[in-house]
């Protein structure tokens, strides 16, 4: 309960929560607000925003409803962002905990693998991954997660190493708990808080990476994303720059909201008194 109060006390966390809540609601209601495929032709091309009441933000160069695209794009961004973070944290936590717990050669080998994933630029890795397999939403999520799991892995390992030697682990060993059980029941729950705080940063990064991939035409071609909208708008950048600008603002808002929420989470999970 006190944790929730700590969260409520941080203005950043609350602001972030509000932004994310609005986005989540909009994304969830997308099929209700704009039923049907947002990529279908809704009207004549290049209608300006605020001129047609049925098309509040106008249409793009192919005649698609811009507002529908925005709203459906929110779904894609949030789904990819959160899913990629979950996968990255999952893989990273398991690998990191294993490495920290096992020690010795297994630890060394796993850390070399982490190093390998870390020195290849995440975006290049995602590029290669998406180009090899058909670009669909799950593949994009996996591609992004492959670049992002090293952070949680290192963090989890560091936490495990510091917790491993503590008393309650020793007592668990004495009563005969199996090492794996100790890892899952005692160590992992305590190692998780800093990893969770890192998750917000991962979500923000994933949203941006997905946008960049779609922008380059490497995202899922069957759904509308803010990145693909920006890419589409590029063709008419001189005459209708707003087509590219508006989805970008949506991206900025999403990333800011995510990051602020993460700060709130950090405030909630940190037990240290702030002193100037």
């Amino acid at each position: 309960m006190s944790a929730l109060i700590r969260f409520a006390r941080s203005p950043e966390g609350l602001a972030g929560l509000v932004i994310l809540a609005v986005l989540a609601i909009v994304a969830a209601l997308a099929p209700l607000l704009f039923p049907g495929d947002p990529l279908r032709i809704a009207g004549t091309p290049m209608i300006a925003p605020f001129t047609d009441p049925s098309l509040p933000l106008g249409t793009d160069r192919l005649g698609r409803n811009v507002l529908a695209g925005l709203v459906h794009g929110a779904r894609a961004s949030l789904i990819v962002g959160i899913a990629a973070a979950i996968v990255a944290v999952l893989i990273g936590s398991i690998v990191g905990t294993l490495a920290g717990f096992a020690g010795g050669l297994i630890d060394e080998a796993l850390m070399r693998v982490v190093d390998a994933f870390q020195i290849v630029p995440g975006f290049l890795l995602a590029l290669a991954f998406v180009s090899v397999l058909q670009p669909s939403l799950p593949i994009v999520i996996l591609a992004i997660a492959l670049g992002a799991w090293t952070g949680p892995a290192r963090l989890a390992r560091a936490e495990v190493l510091s917790i491993r030697e503590r008393d309650y682990v020793a007592s668990a060993r004495i009563i005969g708990m199996h090492p794996l059980e100790i890892a899952l029941r005692e160590v992992l729950p305590n190692a998780l808080p800093p990893v969770l705080a890192l998750s917000a940063v991962i979500v923000a990064g994933a949203v941006l990476t997905e946008a960049a991939l779609s922008f380059l035409g490497l995202g899922d071609p069957n759904i509308v994303t803010w990145g693909s909208m920006i890419a589409e708008g590029r063709a008419v950048l001189r005459s209708a720059p707003y087509l590219s600008i508006v989805p970008g603002i949506a991206l900025i808002a999403t990333v800011i909201g995510t990051y602020l929420f993460g700060e709130g989470l950090s405030a909630m999970l940190s037990r240290r008194e702030q002193q100037s």
Partner: protein
Amino acid sequence: MNSALRLIGRRAISSIPVLLIVVIGTFFLLELAPGDAVDAYLVSIGGGDAALTEQLRAQYGLDQSPLSRLWLYVTALLRFDLGWSVGFNRPISELILERLPNTFYLMGSATALSFVLGTALGIVSGARIGSLRDRLLSIGSLALYAIPSFWLGLVLSVVFAVQLRWFPTSGIETIASGKEGFDRVLDIARHLVLPVSALSMIYLALFLRVMRAGMAEIWRQDFVRAARAKGITRPRLVLRHVARNALLPVVTMLGLQAASMLGGSVVIESVFAIPGFGRLAQEAVGLRDAPLLMGIIVVSAVLVILVNMIIDLIYAFLDPRVGASERNT
């Protein structure tokens, strides 16, 4: 100095297994692709018969088993031979070497700009934690951090290149202009202003935040209190004591961001049509040229390792405690 060189040596040796993992991993990843560069080539020339396909495959060595191809690749790597690009019809090493300088100009400038400006603003912010300017800079840096670099590139392009015509919209230099020496440098610089600005903003925000956070930590240390009790001037306290220590995590962050910036150059080079290394990656994807993509990834990994070695040296220079455990003092 010796301990720093030993550090580099150790880093180099431990990098070899990591590089090997990268090579093997990427190789087998690209194996998963349906079709290879020959298929793509055949599509681009409008199809071909089975005999042509077989001949091309044999010519490019694509008909052998994965393991033997991997072995050939690794041994060729040791000779700095990255193979042949079917899509460009040129040796990959030559292609990459040709494109790298442009990316170096872009990334080098972006790194310098974001580091210097980000650190300076971070010091301004961290000099008085909690002050108005600290809060404003924190909000500003958060906004910058959230802006997608490719979108920023487009916006800058629209405003400064299209509307105001201050800078060119694309390319690294004016084509066939025949400029030499300083004129050419100036020309390239003009072309780089917008892309560098777009690329560096996120990292500027990052360095700002890391510097500020570092300073917040250092302010709490005993030696800062002791320095205050000595009555030294405030600038000296802020710069020589607090910021000088907070510089260390920022330098570390610089190393960690090297890989990220290389990835970021892909989109920026795409937006501004800069013929660089990053753009080459995108082209390789379009051409389904797996060997080229592989070569790009391997070279990227090597570059990141090299950059991290340089950062290690810089860090050892800045922190006298590094390598101290090896000394006999």
